[in-house]
Symmetry: C2
């Protein structure tokens, strides 16, 4: 199969990668009871799959990211993929060694989801697309791994929403996962995170152009999405991180002017996010992905955390951030302790990144010393 | 003067109070250099001023509250004032002992501010009202105290935005303050709080009905204000408080339905705030009050925290909440340590309320054991 060859080119210029897509026919039953007649998943790969199909590392993306984790699609792209610093030759996920796959999720912007045509009508599903869960997303990715010829994942890795997927992989498909790296994730999604997502949902749905999700023929809730993304900033960027980056500096570096107009550097940063020219994600897609994260509840789904983690056989590395007040270390540690009690190899690294919850994306240098030896199984 | 008699009636029914207003003529220079030709302040009083004019306690309100701190205006009012549990006979601020005054601030909804007529045009100021600071607000309140015949405040007390006022009182008018209770306040406003306020500002100003603040002839930015107030909820209500109050309960108390429609109890709570029928505050007023809080910066204004607090002679009680991540205890403690070093009576109580920053409003029972003996000067 052509697509098992990794798409990374090394010619001295920017690393070029190709977005790919796989179509899966046949019914796919969801947690909700709905059945999808088939589905598409978009994905990217970096590096090369070994002959025995056992050197693959699946990267699960966080909420507003997607399958484009590394490299550029064309040399002129303004930015590389969202985890470019983690993926590449000699990087934390070393493409000389591993075949790295980053898969979009069901309902993600480039895969089957609310923007896809409903076979019943020929028109985009919009809000008629069924709600999908983390478990549904992982089951779909399992089909992709088989399609790619991956016999067993050397590892699955992800943070936050991606960490929920990594955990679910180890629970639902223990025979298919050798190592799991679960970052910034707890046993369930808190009322507080549901509240944050409710705010974002409110801002998107109350845009007059939202039209109950049926907006693909019009401009769509561009303003509502921008509002939702800007409202989330003080929730993912910690107080300390903002203090370090902006302090109380004024934009002009001058004493305060006593004005309602933009005055502080942090205010200019927020305004730049609010006024981004191009929406980063389809608003409907964001609504479905948030909902999947909200429904993540291991004790609720399996009866108890112990029951949820009983099937896990993967060596597991948990990473949490001491300053992450959305997914606190103590909650991560509850999962680690359950695995230890049941005799599963587990390690919990608590890192000190001032970024808190966003640490795994931007501070690869503090993550790598934990992840690299764990993936190399040097401690086995 | 009639208004020095407290307005509390005790007839077995609800405690009835009266909103009052005082007009001050003559120029008032602001920190910005602008001069107001005169101003109005609205206020309420509870209890009775002693003959010597030394038993008054000034309550400084927090951001979206106002002068209506206790009792009801008419028996049919749905709610009592915002600190009703703290103010009354035998309460923490005992109206049998103290003459309690709650004063609105400049730019507050019921006093001179953006909704007032600009003498130059006869039309509401809107965004042409000058930006006012905490210092300006306190200077205006000082005129009100003189007007009421208060010789020296027995105490000034407030939390957050109100705590900034209490602190500024002790700094600007040391001879007029005997005791200061400063709750949930730091030496300056953080980049993170400026970011939160920038989000709220963005949501209000981007409402098409905002019309650059000149909306008093139309419906005004009702939706934008509701958006701003709902966006702020996950920022003042802590993760723990939300977890305790809502956990992952569904609205129906049933297993999840896998729907985009409201499902979780916390989501219903957010929606109820988003869909409040009547705006709680004039949107322009909120913009000015947030700005005043943002400009609060003792080290910046006075050169250093030591220089800022040098004039303070009031016995000072700082209260902070261990779980308040917006105004952390460590920052409160810096002020306490400076006062101790300069030989000023200071005490810092760190409380454990799960509510965090909102603790002072809702958990009067944990605040009272610190405040009551401090106001009685039992430790002197």
């Amino acid at each position: 199969m052509a697509e098992v060859d990794g798409a990374i080119k090394r010619d001295g210029g920017p690393t070029l990668v190709q977005a790919m897509n796989a179509r899966f026919e046949g019914p796919m039953e969801l947690n909700s009871g709905h059945v999808l007649p088939g589905f598409d998943l978009s994905y990217e790969t970096y590096g090369r799959l070994d002959r025995d199909g056992e050197n693959a590392v699946l990267v699960c993306h966080s909420l507003t990211k997607g399958a484009h984790a590394a490299g550029r699609h064309i040399a002129q792209d303004a930015h590389s993929g969202w985890w470019d610093r983690a993926i590449g030759p000699g990087h934390m996920l070393d493409t000389d060694r591993y075949f790295v796959v980053c898969s979009d999720v069901l309902a993600g912007g480039a895969s089957t989801g609310p923007a896809s045509a409903d076979p019943a009508t020929g028109c985009p599903y919009g809000a008629d697309f069924p709600v999908v869960t983390i478990e549904d997303m992982v089951n779909a990715q399992r089909r992709l791994m088989q399609h790619l010829g991956i016999v067993r994942l050397h590892a699955v890795i992800g943070g936050c929403f991606g960490g929920q997927q990594a955990l679910q992989w180890a629970i639902s498909h223990p025979d298919a996962v050798r190592n799991a790296v679960v970052i910034g994730t707890g046993p369930d999604t808190s009322a507080h995170t549901i509240a944050i997502f409710s705010v974002m949902r409110h801002l998107i749905r109350n845009d007059p152009n939202f039209n109950d999700g049926d907006y693909y023929a019009g401009p769509g809730p561009v303003r509502g999405l921008a509002n939702a993304l800007v409202a989330a900033v003080p929730l993912w960027m910690s107080r300390d991180a903002m203090g370090r980056r902006f302090a109380r500096r004024t934009m002009a570096g001058q004493p305060p002017r006593y004005t309602l107009e933009p005055e502080f550097a942090v205010e200019a940063f927020l305004n730049s996010i609010a006024n981004q020219p191009r929406p980063a994600i389809d608003p409907n897609s964001l609504l479905y992905l948030m909902r999947a994260e909200e429904y993540f509840d291991l004790p609720g789904r399996y009866g108890s955390l112990e029951a949820a983690l009983k099937s896990v056989s993967a060596r597991t590395l948990f990473v949490s951030y001491r300053t992450d007040w959305r997914y606190p270390s103590e909650e991560t540690d509850r999962m680690h302790q359950v695995l230890l009690r049941q005799g599963t190899h587990s390690h919990h690294a608590v890192l000190d990144s001032p970024l808190g919850h966003g640490g795994f994306i931007y501070e690869v240098e503090s993550l790598a010393p934990e992840v690299v030896p764990f993936l190399a199984e040097e401690d086995t």
